[in-house]
């Protein structure tokens, strides 16, 4: 990467000196892959400097204070006012506390008195480059974070609005009695409204899981969790749904297998995988849950005899709000967050989640969580 460095000085000797020192100079840091070099341009007056700054993207300016026209400080003031994405270093032989304070107030990175040795210049350039680079990286990360958050929120509001719109639509049709006089004519709409309300409640519960996860360590409580016991507790909860579809759940597991984890988080993972295995199963289908220790990891497998997925559908599976839409999934409601939450949780424990699937035959989810991990990755705090 080449940074554009503008030297503003009315003494040609300084400009050529800087050029000589920095021509073959490069900077690199252990935390970045690239090496930074400099393209040097110069201006003899503050007015020229402003014109160059306005017209080309300058990264760093070395600014003499004593100039023929306007002062270096005024150029700095201009840069500060217009909020250019650049770093400024003042150089001057007339160093006084007054100018130094002023320069710092206007955002100058540092202040180098003239005359300076090549090594002093290099050290100053190295420090200002690092500062500029970190500033840019942080801003980029913040922008990206804002972007993801914005996308998440706009999808979320769409997902919350859509059941409301649907139910409102149904109610209006009933209000106008568009499909007949008797309440029986509207049974499908009523059932569907209840289904959409259930879905909305599910979405809100999933959001609570997500908030809990993102709010971080404060509420996490790591204790040895017995995986089989945890799975059984979850199965008790989804039994009614399984009975309705006459889906049988088989559990095979190592009873003594425990991992250090937050009990509730492990249950969320089990709940998402097992309830999907029931929901997307056929009537009279089966779900096989296997929990075992393989090498130094806990392996959880959830296999169903359900509708399965195509490779294209599989690609989308773990993304936020993605739901696979086809004739086979049309009656099934879900928030589209379950698996993305499960994945995020498993990853917090250094684990992985994978899926194998065949359309109309079933899917098999496999979660692997290492048992000997030194630490649990804590979600970042705000």
């Amino acid at each position: 990467m080449k940074l554009k460095l503008l030297v503003v000085d009315d003494e040609p000797g300084i400009v050529s000196g800087v050029e000589r020192v920095l021509r073959n100079f490069s900077v690199s840091y252990p935390f970045m892959e690239e090496t930074i070099t400099y393209e040097i341009i110069s201006a003899g007056t503050g007015e020229d400097a402003i014109e160059i700054i306005d017209n080309s993207e300058v990264d760093i300016a070395l600014l003499d204070n004593k100039l023929p026209g306007i002062d270096g400080i005024e150029v700095l003031e201009y840069i500060n006012e217009k909020d250019f994405d650049m770093a400024v270093m003042m150089i001057t032989s007339y160093a006084s506390l007054d100018i130094a304070v002023k320069a710092t107030n206007f955002g100058a990175h540092n202040f180098v008195p003239k005359p300076f040795t090549p090594d002093e210049l290099k050290a100053a350039i190295e420090s200002i480059t690092k500062n500029l680079y970190l500033k840019r990286i942080t801003r980029k990360m913040k922008d990206e974070d804002k972007q993801t958050r914005f996308q998440f929120l706009s999808v979320l509001s769409h997902e919350l609005k859509s059941p409301i719109n649907a139910i409102e639509g149904y109610l209006r049709i009933m209000q106008d009695k568009q499909a007949g006089e008797s309440i029986g004519d509207y049974m499908m709409m009523i059932d569907r409204s209840i289904e959409r309300l259930k879905g909305m409640r599910g979405l809100i519960l999933d959001l609570l899981d997500l908030t809990r996860m993102e709010s971080g360590a404060k509420t996490r409580n790591l204790v040895p969790v017995d995986l089989v016991e945890s799975a059984r507790r979850v199965i008790d909860g989804i039994e009614p749904m399984a009975n309705q579809k006459r889906v049988k759940i088989y559990v095979e597991g190592d009873d003594s297998l425990t991992i250090d984890a937050d009990k509730q988080e492990i249950e969320i993972v089990f709940n998402n995988l097992l309830s999907n295995a029931v929901k997307y199963n056929r009537d009279n289908g089966k779900v096989f849950l296997k929990i075992e220790k393989v090498k130094e990891s806990a392996v959880i497998e959830v296999e169903d005899t359900g509708i399965g997925m195509t490779p294209e559908e599989k690609e989308l599976l773990f993304k936020d709000f993605v739901r696979i839409k086809n004739q086979k999934t049309k009656g099934i409601s879900g928030s589209g967050l379950g698996l993305s939450i499960a994945k995020k949780m498993v990853e917090m424990y250094d684990g992985t989640i994978e899926v194998e699937s065949r359309p109309d035959e079933g899917s098999k989810f496999r979660v692997v969580i290492p048992l000997d991990r030194a630490t649990v990755i804590q979600p970042e705090e705000e």
Binding site: A166, G169, Y170, R172, I173, D176, Q178, A179, G180, D185, Y186, M188, M189, R192, R196, K325, N326, Q327, K330, G331
Partner: protein, 164 residues
Amino acid sequence: MKTAKKILIVDDDMDVIITLQTILKSKNYEVVTAMNKGEALEKLRAEKPDLAILDVMMTTHFEGFELAQEMLSSDEFKNIPFLIQSSIDILTTTKASVQEMARQYRKDPNFKDLRVLLVKNIKDGTAGIDYLDEEGKTHWFNVRGFIRKPVDANKILPEIEKHI
């Protein structure tokens, strides 16, 4: 007794399907449904419906339009009338051919940002769709008619009766 007319609803929104289905069944139509283009083609073949109602945006942006064009160019399906259901505004005209109107709208700077033009001649009932696909290619095809979303029985039923 005459057999009930069969209507195929193609929409990826379950709630639109249920609403339409309830309304149509109350008028003794037989209803079959599909949620994407692939399922729709299967149902067209297997059920031989008397009419199809097509949503536009399903898995892909213009899936309903692609389905309509496939129907029009297939010997098997070209005689099955279809209606396009969407919430896009319909441009109306009384003169010229609808395709000519669409061409004129395309040249009009006020409409240059529109990806989709639905044009209907309110005098003779002819209608058509002009749209720019993802690659920027323009397509034109004739349709029997449009149905506006949200679903409203008082508008849908008369439109359907015109065609079957």
